[in-house]
């Protein structure tokens, strides 16, 4: 059972409640994390890209003309040089760039991208699920606002998760 997750509690003992703004930050950080490629430390576009590159000569081996030309020095396209100059790209930064661009076309695409986001949910209040077991959760933790369904799940929450992301 060595794989069993052992989650240490890095939570300050003082009973603190978390402000609405802080809770929102936690939610936001969590949503961002759900878009990550791989766990721990490796962002969407990491800094270790180099390790992933194949040898240029190997890549182009079967394209006769090319491989002769590119033996030795590594050939780079304008796009690659530009990418190097700017460092790792994220979509958010490109979108921001487009929105602030002098080019009316780029501006318009950025506007349309933003306008296409589905609106806020209508009607029913958000459903409440237990942050521990996933079933319907009538109660709320007074410190962090997480939901829980029973005394048992609350105990697990306090032991493992409460304020974990903000503590």
């Amino acid at each position: 059972m060595e794989r069993r997750s052992v989650r240490s509690r890095k939570v300050s003992k003082r009973i603190a409640t978390v402000s609405a703004a802080e809770r929102e930050n936690v939610t936001h950080a969590r949503l961002e994390a759900l878009e990550n490629d791989d766990a721990a430390g490796e962002g969407v576009v990491g800094d270790s890209d180099e390790e992933f590159l194949l040898e240029e000569s190997d890549e182009e081996m079967e394209f006769g003309k090319r491989s002769k030309k590119s033996k030795g020095a590594k050939r780079k396209t304008r796009a690659m040089l530009e990418a190097e100059r700017k460092g790792p790209l994220t979509f958010a930064s490109l979108l921001e760039e487009a929105a602030a661009s002098e080019d009316p076309m780029a501006k318009e695409v950025a506007r349309m991208y933003s306008a296409a986001a589905a609106g806020p949910p209508e009607g029913a209040a958000p459903r409440r699920w237990c942050s521990v077991c996933g079933f319907a959760a009538p109660y709320k933790c007074v410190r962090c606002g997480s939901r829980f369904c029973t005394r048992k799940c609350y105990a697990v929450h306090m032991e493992t998760r409460c304020l974990k992301f903000v503590g």
Partner: protein
């Protein structure tokens, strides 16, 4: 004059499909990623990932961020590998037709074009959203459907990075009416990973394996309340036997063993216990607020999309909702979508959800 052969590349955030236009050979499917083995510094590109016996131990790097192509270092390797090993033709002799997400940014289009011409030397290049191509395929299958004869429909593309509702008329996308929910298969896999890691065994480092497990065990509930009740009684409980690294590469799911059924072999197994995660994870597409995302669920997003289209198109749009993308293949997806959409669409309109 012979037109040049055209390479068709469906360049998705999770995987690519490649083939020659008009050719009878099936398209080849492979991950749009480069994997690195932990420990050894070895790289596996595209289809090599699938072929690697211990694929679940690879950490994957993808060229896409939020559904758009941003990392050429990664994409370049994947494309070289694909063009070299999967095509009979050289890029220099072909044109390239490639899919891109709706509202692709001009800066990304420019760098893509530079790559296509300068790095690979294609003769010509055209990029277009994938959704009109899906509708075309559907038209060919169901030519007599009234909406299809007019090229009208809503393509629901439940993809890797996001989910789109794309209304179309005359086979063309109505750009002002497209709606997007910022959640897709990638977030669902990560959410699933988070849940099982918290509730059962730590799988945070094993995205590839978790993604496979998700594909095998998840389903969309058609009656959430009754599935939750059933789940409390253990009806949906499954055990997932994790790969032992020797005989098993991916592992397998089974009904929980009864007390007397355990053998000596079972004692050595590492078993992931699954219950309501099986349907509460895909549930996010229908209620993004479950993960704190303040956006409408898919049925409401489709209604928003249709309402943004010209009024006279509404009946035909609702009558032809076509589901595509990886998440749409989750069992129960279409039923649930139809059920909820039916409740939102005016009674005198026909509603449909096909895939």
């Amino acid at each position: 004059m012979n037109p040049e052969p055209v390479v068709v590349l469906d360049n998705g955030g999770s995987s690519c499909k490649i083939g020659m236009a008009g050719a009878s050979d099936p398209f080849r499917l492979f991950p749009n990623a480069v994997g690195r083995s932990k420990g050894e510094r070895q790289s596996f590109v595209g289809d090599q990932i699938v072929g690697y016996p211990d694929a679940s131990s690879l950490s994957l790097k993808r060229p896409f961020d939020r559904g758009y192509l941003v990392s050429w270092d990664v994409e370049k390797s994947v494309w070289w590998r694909a063009f070299k090993s999967m095509l009979q033709q050289q890029p220099q002799d072909c044109g390239l037709l490639m899919t891109e997400a709706p509202f692709n940014l001009p800066s990304i289009q420019t760098s893509t074009m530079q790559m296509v011409f300068e790095e690979y030397g294609f003769k010509s290049f055209l990029a277009m959203p994938a959704q009109p191509l899906s509708l075309l395929e559907w038209q060919a299958q169901q030519p007599s459907l009234p909406a299809n004869t007019a090229g009208i429909g809503v393509v629901v593309d439940a993809g890797f990075s996001f989910t789109h509702a794309v209304p179309m008329c005359d086979g063309r996308l109505l750009p002002g009416a497209v709606r997007r929910i910022n959640v897709g298969g990638k977030a669902l896999t990560n959410y699933f990973k988070e849940l099982v890691s918290y509730r059962s065994i730590n799988m945070m480092e094993e995205t590839y394996l978790v993604d496979n497990i998700k594909e095998q065990v998840c389903f969309v509930s058609t009656h959430l309340a009754s599935d939750l009740t059933a789940s409390r009684k253990g009806t949906h409980k499954l055990e997932y036997v994790l790969p032992d690294g020797v005989n098993e590469r991916i592992g397998y799911a089974r009904k929980p063993l009864a007390k007397g059924e355990h053998t000596e072999k079972n004692a050595k197994e590492q078993v992931l216990t699954l219950n309501n995660e099986r349907f509460m994870v895909p549930e996010v597409l229908f209620q993004p607020t479950d993960i704190g995302l303040q956006q409408a669920g898919l049925p409401q997003a489709i209604v928003e999309a249709v309402e943004a289209a010209p009024t006279d198109l509404h009946p035909l749009l609702y009558s032809n909702v076509l589901c595509t993308g990886g998440c749409a293949t989750c069992p129960g997806f279409q039923d649930r979508l139809y059920r909820e959409l039916r409740a939102l669409v005016p009674d005198d309109f026909e509603a449909s959800a096909s895939s």
